[in-house]
Symmetry: C2
Subunit: 203 residues, 2 copies
């Protein structure tokens, strides 16, 4: 089965982001709207911009706010530490996919127990400059994916080149920000991620 | 029919507020949780504190976030300028009372057209020191209440003594903050509001 590619907005969503999404959206599985400083009205405007370029609502995950996801027929909500507990969100909004962002095995186990449908775990790589060091994130990622039953997506500094080892550690896919937003050629990078995620056969 | 008394939190909710609510809650119709700087998790904690003192969820209105109101069986959601439009909230959450905060006749008409169930209009009084001047807020309040069909609650500097003239201008009730939170004797003030609101027979 193909692994997933999640794209997370970087907090500075602009028309430029919309233009990038327009070019790449066939190759991403989910777009997370994560614009922590923006009020609800502005988040809705972003989603309306996506509607205008025919981006499928079923690929949209809204950070923190289940209400906005429901209002715009989004796929789900991504919960952070400051968000409502997954159990409460699942009970009130059973049709939403509920993801939880976690940073340790302990948090991951707790989130699974609360009923989260999937997890984002990170950051896997703390620095782009330490390519030859085994990052702690990858070791714990392996521990988490082998312990839990829900899908775990890895996040944090994951380049197309690093995607293989992340998937080898049991991730169900990767979630990226700078790997696409800051790429010289976002489409080329998306295709590189997509290729690795869909041809991976190791184990 | 009795007019309503809404109490709005002041953005610094603490255990002290909870103690005040415990003493006065029989005499207020709705409590608006308006803690703009607090994340969802902290808003939920406030509501759980209210649950612990047996404050009825059906008297709770959550600012901006319909999802938290739904999760905690609250009465409704209060929308501000930066919030989702009332039309979208009503469509997705038909069981919630949807209030909108407005500051002019134009905004009030728009909110009614969008399907808001009631409005908060203010500020009625800009300063506590100009008791003898006819405040503009009261004139526009009269204009708004005579033009619209939805209930309009007045907010902003309303003391127990001023409640009569606000109701005379057509308000369906008053919403207060400092008039209760900063009162020397909150219970006495609540009773004073309550008495005026429930004995008013002018017109």
């Amino acid at each position: 089965m193909g692994k997933q590619l999640h794209l997370i907005t970087d907090g500075n969503f602009s028309n430029q982001h919309l233009q990038i999404i327009k070019r790449i959206h066939d190759n991403i599985d989910y777009l997370h709207i994560r614009e922590k400083m923006k009020p609800a009205k502005d988040i809705l405007k972003i989603i309306e911009g996506l509607e205008n370029i025919k981006f499928p609502p079923a690929k949209i995950i809204v950070n923190d706010r289940a209400d906005l996801a429901v209002m715009k027929y989004g796929a789900g909500v991504q919960l952070a530490y400051h968000s409502p507990p997954a159990s409460l969100v699942k009970r009130s909004f059973p049709d939403l996919q509920v993801g939880k962002s976690v940073h340790s095995l302990h948090e991951a186990e707790q989130a699974q127990q609360e009923g989260a449908d999937y997890l984002l775990y990170g950051h896997i790589y703390s620095s782009m400059s330490k390519l030859n060091q085994q990052p702690r994130g990858l070791v714990e990622l392996q521990e988490i994916t082998s312990t839990l039953s829900v899908p775990v997506y890895a996040v944090g500094g994951i380049t197309p080149e690093r995607t293989n080892e992340v998937i080898a550690a049991g991730a169900a896919g990767v979630a990226v920000m700078s790997g696409i937003w800051q790429a010289d050629d976002p489409l080329q990078n998306v295709k590189a991620y997509h290729h690795t995620l869909n041809t991976w056969e190791g184990g």
